[in-house]
Amino acid sequence: MEREIRLMKGNEAMAEAAIRAGMKAYFGYPITPQSEVMEYLFEQMPKRNFKVLQAESEVAAINMIYGAAGSGARVMTSSSSPGMSLMQEGISYIAAAELPCLLANIVRGGPGLGTIQPSQGDYFQAVKGGGHGDYKLIVLAPNSVQEMADFVFDGFKLAEKFRGPAMILSDGALGQMMEKVALLPEGSLPHTVPAWAATGKPANRPPNVITSLYIEPEKMEMINHTLQAKYKQLQKEEVRYEDYQTEDADIVLTAFGLSSRICQKAVDLAREQGIKAGLLRPITLFPFPEKKIAEIAETAKVFLDVEMNAGQMVEDVRLAVNGKKPVYFKGRMGGIIPSPEEILHEIEQISEQVLSYQN
């Protein structure tokens, strides 16, 4: 398909992609560093075929998403960390009611009101549930403006295929930076209103009920079984990752999103010095590429996980490595972005201490 090339901010690219992906409605509430999403959509609304609404709060916005998704519309919201926290109750309801929708968290430094600088401190919230109960989000972690756009299409597709909320987990830097983006044309992701949608009951079918309330525990357990079966299928079929020179690597870095870009440079710098470094970037954070990491643990000597937080994905890396090899961690917190040189320094130290000791 013919793609249109533009120079865009990550936030704008995501908004433009949502329009082209046939998003019918967006409900949101402004918060830095993702306010450009709604600004862009409002600017485009008069010219194109979708609706945007600024709700009175994030809580209202996510419940509008719940309602619109229940009626079978392709819908999306976005926010940044504190705003996403406010939405968690609604997200749990949407997961329980098995409704597709797309969420985007342009993460900023926390906890609390925190800072507006980029962070990856919401990995746990995105990947481990965030709201109450046993549910999961399908989580996609872009590391470029191109992927900020592409993952809107992928997110809608997965959400609709598995009937549940999908999330783009990004950060303030990816939202604010500009890169070349090749945009898919409008109409490339067709959508039909699904049979389960609450669209008004005709005489010839029983009512379609959208709910997350099941008083009898037996019924509730059945719903849980359905959800868990979906998550298993996701883990089996939809894992995505990017492998950068891990094949012959002694030291394998693991990083997602923006950190993975910095790590890629650090790997290049390390290779220039003759250190065999590689990078495994999970693209889907759930489902997590645990098999691939376990496989690498057979050949690599040591892992270094790099994140812009106090160490969150590293727990999943350790579970996947399962004690076979040491897993080190390097993180910066509170909105600080590590430099490639800082990561290189870490690689050098580990390679001096661990690799020379092992040889």
């Binding site: 830097a173 500009m178 890169e179 870009r261 910095i262 890629q264 490639p340």
Partner: protein, 187 residues
């Protein structure tokens, strides 16, 4: 081996530092190169200074966040203090003469002083000082074609300012002349 140019552009908010970077980035994609434009946002920006990192490369840019630069285009004193030490050895440092009170002192880089604001005033449009700086940079480091820069101006400037494109072009050309003169003085 691939080629990559890493540039820091910095000054006060309102001097057009961010749009100067965008012109460079847009020209790069018109030239079929890879690029990132990474702005400062947040507390620094609210303090009145603005900067952006532009990377232009033959292949996909890895880290958009870097701490050492091949070139700097500096339009105020605080940015000079912050970024003079961050220019790589043998790199290039372009600065605006009237806003940088204490000139850079390093002798392992090429320093190019441009009276951009003075020249812009002569052109009766103070706002084009940024394009004079950009022109100076492009004379020394022709990393994108002039043709693409002119196309990029159309993309970056809002439509209501499109009548100013010829003036911006003139400013870029004037910047190129000034850089050439400066280079002769340096050598």
């Amino acid at each position: 081996m691939y080629h990559s140019d890493e540039i820091i552009l910095a000054g006060f908010g309102g001097q057009g530092v961010l749009s100067m970077g965008q012109v460079l980035s847009y020209a790069a994609i018109i030239d079929n190169k890879e690029t990132t434009w990474m702005p400062s946002y947040g507390p620094e920006m609210r303090g009145g200074t603005a900067n952006c990192i532009v990377i232009v490369s033959d292949r996909r840019v890895s880290s958009p966040i870097i701490t050492k630069f091949d070139s700097g285009i500096i339009l105020n004193q605080p940015s000079m203090e912050k970024f003079e030490p961050a220019i790589k050895k043998n790199g290039f440092l372009f600065y605006e003469e009237s806003t940088v009170v204490y000139p850079p002192t390093r002798d392992d880089i090429t320093i190019i002083k441009i009276a951009a604001i003075h020249e812009a005033e002569l052109m009766k449009k103070k706002q084009v000082a940024n394009m004079i700086m950009l022109g100076a940079f492009l004379e020394v480091k022709p990393i994108v074609t002039m043709d693409s820069v002119l196309k990029a101006l159309k993309k970056v400037l809002p439509e209501r300012h499109h009548h100013l494109i010829p003036l911006n072009e003139q400013a870029i050309l004037r910047g190129k002349e000034l850089a050439l003169q400066q280079l002769h003085l340096t050598i």
